[in-house]
């Protein structure tokens, strides 16, 4: 029998509860939740004022200055909105909020005009969900751990729906790498693998996201966060793997959980520029334009394609 649990991908505190069947684990190191769930599973927020924060890459400010903030796109944040509150500060004041609240807020802060939908991964575990309007991005800051024999068929309907969107290229699916400090597709210390994540290896429009300790620049290169899972030797995983800075010292929040909404926001912003692009094209653009010169000791086996670069993803390949 396959053995599954869900894990939120917080970073520096990658504690996992004893594995229970169909138990999900958020991948963070601090969390929060205030999602008003409609029909037990969903709520939406359409926009928020753009406010540059120190934890954001400078690319984001440039994006906003041009007026493009993810409008016309839908970002679905599947997460735990009922978890114990976690202390953090994405804005100017420290708050205690559930994990899902932090990740959904973070995605909206990166792409203020995207339509954010919140789905609670427990309440909606046995139901699928429909996509929203425009480009769809699905942000998943959690893992579903299981035995090495567990597969797609052992997962709840909710995760199977997300995987289907990634495989079919109907949405950009952004998934946390996990916080075990191991290769993404390997088993953790308890002999469990991330079934949810590994089932998306090779999926058309799925991206796996690891965490750097800071936003890298060519003069101040970033290092991989010690807690973050890395790409590993699987070439397919490497081709789907990105890293971004999770500036925990500025937010109090650590974990690959908080890398995911950044990339999800980037995807939404890309979708507001390239309005006819498919989710697969958006995902490939982010992967193909990632930077390697901002990372200390860049290696595909650790950092995959490199650090996501919004400015390069938006730029043409050639101009004359």
């Amino acid at each position: 029998m396959a053995n599954l649990n869900l894990a939120m991908n917080f970073g520096s505190d990658p504690k996992e509860k004893p594995v229970a069947l169909h138990k999900k684990i958020i991948d963070f190191a601090a969390i929060s939740a205030a999602g008003m769930l409609l029909g037990g599973c969903l709520s939406t927020t359409s926009s928020m004022p753009a406010e540059m924060r120190p934890w954001m890459s400078g690319d984001v400010q440039t994006a906003w200055s041009k007026g493009y903030q993810g409008q016309g796109t839908t970002t679905t944040v599947v997460d735990d909105y009922n978890a114990a509150p976690i202390a953090g500060a994405l804005g100017s004041t420290s708050q205690n909020r559930p994990h899902g609240d932090w990740t959904s807020t973070q995605a909206q802060m990166i792409a203020p005009q995207t339509n954010v939908r919140k789905i609670d991964f427990d309440s909606a575990a046995n139901s699928g969900y429909s996509l929203g309007s425009g480009l769809n991005v699905i942000s998943n800051s959690y893992s579903v751990r299981g035995s090495t024999s567990a597969n797609y068929n052992n997962l709840p309907v909710l995760e199977r729906t997300t995987i289907d969107h990634g495989r079919n290229g109907t949405a950009v699916v952004v998934k946390s790498a996990g916080n075990d400090g191991r290769a993404f597709d390997s088993t953790n210390g308890s002999g469990l693998k991330d079934v949810f994540g590994t089932e998306m290896i090779g999926a058309n429009s799925a991206i796996f996201v690891g965490a750097l300790t800071s936003n890298g620049t060519t003069s101040a290169k970033a290092s991989m966060a010690g807690y973050s899972n890395y790409a590993g030797s699987n070439g397919q995983v490497q081709s789907q793997f990105l890293v971004v800075g999770v500036e925990s010292a500025k937010t109090g929040l650590a974990g690959t959980s908080f890398a995911v909404p950044i990339v999800a926001g980037y995807a939404a912003i890309l979708g507001s520029k390239f309005t006819n692009a498919t989710p697969t094209q958006i995902a490939r653009q982010l992967l193909n334009t990632a930077r390697t010169d901002t990372i200390q000791g860049y290696s595909p086996a650790i950092h995959g394609q490199g650090e996501a670069s919004l400015s390069r993803a938006l730029a043409p390949a050639a101009l004359q």
Partner: protein, 196 residues
Amino acid sequence: MARIFNPFTFILLFTAGSATAQGAALGGGHKFLGDTSLVGLSFEGLNSAYVRQAAREGYELSNGAQVDLAQWYSPRFPNLSATFETWLSPRVSLLWGGSLGEKGEKYAIGPSGMIGFSINHPLGQRSWLHLQAYGRFGGALRESSCVGDYGAIGGVQRVNCRMASSFLPPAQTLDYLWNEPPVRDGQLKLSYEFRF
């Protein structure tokens, strides 16, 4: 692009000092043809400032290669501008001049002209009132687009060269191409001078 249309700016300027205020706005001149002096010479004409700013900017392509906008926004020959002052009487002079315009790979600025007058009226042995007025015209600015290759995600599209890497869809950046009509503005300046 925001351009300030300044039909007639009225400036009341009081100066106190030993230096003459005459020519302060246009600089001292060199008499070269009878009563005519060259009082201003530069390589900046109307609308040149916009282009000079653009030429200092740049951005990266998706592969990291640097795009230097100076390649498209530098003039083949600088916009030579000259202002002359012809004295019609000891107190009245005619101001006139213009610029030749300039052209770069992605823009063109048309020629421009200016004409005006200056009157100096003594109020006493050591004080004067100066009145200067002039109008400017011409200097239309036009910009042409680039062709950007956005690969699989966006294809090949016409795009504003300055905004090709912005968050705007390429087609929308064309709305921001410079298309400035000829300038028609002027300035009226009144100044008081007291020498001590």
